[in-house]
Symmetry: C2
Subunit: 487 residues, 2 copies
Amino acid sequence: MNKFFNSYRLFTYTFFGLFLSLFLFTGTVAQKAAPQPPNVILFFLDDMGYGDLSVTGALGYETPHIDRMAAEGTRFTNFLAAQAVCSASRAALLTGCYPNRIGLSGALGPNSQIGLNPSEETLADLLKGKGYATGIFGKWHLGDHPTFLPLQQGFDEYFGVPYSHDMWPLHPNQANAKYPSLKLIEGNQPTKPVNTLADAGGLTSAITEHAVNFIRKNKKKPFFMYVPHPLPHVPLAVSARFKGKSKRGLYGDVMMELDWSVGEILTELKKQGLDKNTLVLFTSDNGPWLNYGEHAGSSGGFREGKGTSFEGGQRVPLIVRWPGVVPAGRVSNKLLSTLDILPTVAKLCGARQPRRKTDGLEFTGLLKGDDSQNPRQQFLYYYRKNSLEAVRQGNWKLVFAHPSRSYEGFLPGQNGQPGETTEKREMPAALYNLERDPGERYDVRGQFPEIVADLEKLAEAARTDLGDDLQNRTGANVRPVGRVAKN
Amino acid sequence: MNKFFNSYRLFTYTFFGLFLSLFLFTGTVAQKAAPQPPNVILFFLDDMGYGDLSVTGALGYETPHIDRMAAEGTRFTNFLAAQAVCSASRAALLTGCYPNRIGLSGALGPNSQIGLNPSEETLADLLKGKGYATGIFGKWHLGDHPTFLPLQQGFDEYFGVPYSHDMWPLHPNQANAKYPSLKLIEGNQPTKPVNTLADAGGLTSAITEHAVNFIRKNKKKPFFMYVPHPLPHVPLAVSARFKGKSKRGLYGDVMMELDWSVGEILTELKKQGLDKNTLVLFTSDNGPWLNYGEHAGSSGGFREGKGTSFEGGQRVPLIVRWPGVVPAGRVSNKLLSTLDILPTVAKLCGARQPRRKTDGLEFTGLLKGDDSQNPRQQFLYYYRKNSLEAVRQGNWKLVFAHPSRSYEGFLPGQNGQPGETTEKREMPAALYNLERDPGERYDVRGQFPEIVADLEKLAEAARTDLGDDLQNRTGANVRPVGRVAKN
């Protein structure tokens, strides 16, 4: 009897133990419903092409940390940068506006008299308004005059370079090195110059270190951390321990170090127990700068690259990870743009939306796995500066005849030197069906006149809208872009 | 004291419970070390391009079951079909030989006088020799004379069509319909004709049903099941419940049904408890048949398609899943070929390798996650029929001047009709660096003469080797290809 009783007790307690395990386990899962708004980390690489990750077909090196981020989150294959040039793309990312809506397109040089107008609301402004700690570690490139630097644009902390690191004495083509030096900036103050490739080779690790410290420092409150790595933009530079690590030369080494950086930051998140309540986004500003030859990235087979409105210029990977909220291991091909990041992140964080008109469409439902949300099934515009070069509806893309940079038919550079290229090749009008022709090789304008007509109408509406708005924003009280009085 | 004793007991038993859970859990994991050789399922789609899965960028429809298979297994992004045409590619898959080594290239028509020589050892022969139950459900296309059908080539069971389903009265271009009918074959006997699109629309589900039954029937012994779906080859056909399901028209519907089929078969594996001990491979015979317009798949941006030796013709996805053995969520960019499947699967199953010379290189280490294994870092040859059109070393590809089918510059067909194309466009010699130029758009022959010279030497060696071997195999005892005496 006593024996039976003991077995009975053994049985009950064992069950109790099993239940306890189950309870502990579900407790961990339930962590996703934490009430604090999520932290946000936004990686933004420079000139990294669509095909530069293992998950998108990179050859000669692998990106295991970013691949794992994709396996643990959702990867978007039909995501486009708002313009195929550095400053313009960054302006769109931070404001949710086509860069030409706010008068900022192209790439700013050092000592620029213009910059992102601080009266535009950035994602940092919106999240700061919601009580977030905000930091940027990396490349700004939206005006290097103190008026335009990050501390005026919603960021509490800044460490990085103010513009591209080829705008300095080590420009690959020395004859073009118009600018005396590139400064690392901490807060609002230049600290030390980055004037050698060894200096530039330290950028990725220094930025990573600052990012890791920011996470440690802000683990108790929600934070927004923007990590716009200056690489793999030329001139390529890498720290000693990644030198020669890949079979793809210096470009592969640089990508491996950037992948390491993503891994370090995600590891720190886990260490601090913030992993489950942090939304992490990873993307790039535009496609590869192909005339740098083996020092350039890969478009993954898409046509052309940086500085063009073909898919190779604007299609970039987007990976989003937020365990328990964003489905793991999912791949989505819904059309999205850099423009859409601001409204989506603001909504997920419970922040308000910008007061002025913007171009972003929120995709929080889609991000959480609701496939019925498809905000951009209607349209997307491909601008270069103020010129509308192409328009998209669903997976049809109408290209208007336009002069364009082109990499085809020119020999690329070698050893980090730029090759020949042209800014003035005349591209003919064409209609591409990106479903069957993602490489934009087969013009089918002649077969689908109604689709051409529809897309032309869409384009006309866009031209009017942006023209009117730019007019409004250039009125008495609003400048389209900040302008420094000449001293 | 008694109370303390009780708490103590509660504590111990609870721990015991926790341990028991842990034990049960590790027991599940340890299942991977089961002593029985693995079952093997090999999906082989027809004319499915590199870009036709969500994971590789398909637009307008999604492939969630295949995507999940990739997330639970390893996806290879640098995998090439052995030739870009149906029969040739299948011959290579089943024998591990370049198709021209065994005298079988191109695509066989109905009533063909030749076929795969039964004296060649197929993967089915090797696994049958090891005691496997073997079945093929789908398209054979290695000779429709009974001499060459699957039951003569190592398979116990066959259900499917003997050649492509456009070689019948419903050929999209009626004028080309040389052949009176297409029969479904069960075992060695034709059963019923497939003479309407509705019949063809039932192919995917009928094949799936046979595959599911084969799993149920053979759950107690190791099995090898080859599932060469006849679709998404033209003419496209889909069952009623997938009609209109995608936003990519009939092609998307067909891909969704094929994705469903993969899902059904994987679900059955789990139901039967065979999931953990089954190696599943998924790939395609060649790239998309682009002149069928919206009835064709997508190369994902690679150049050209089916019937060409450009990447669009030969690069296809390969996904391999074997829980606990093949790492989950991994993406590998090591160069591999259809040729390599036979030696790898044979090794994993403990079967012997073929007795005659083959061209496959085993990659079991790489498959298990050992990155130091890279069997094809040395070379790969791109043949069309017996002509060596290109050679690969690492990620360099030297294209020899050759006449080729080309889809560029021709309008594709509409509504399932083939468009114009040519078989005779003259392709110039070129050197491509597929790392930075996966789209084969930028010839850099002029910049790398030493690499051109190296690759030319490799090509010369290949020409000699295959020429000699074909000579041997055509000797007194060995025919390069089975030939039926005319009755």
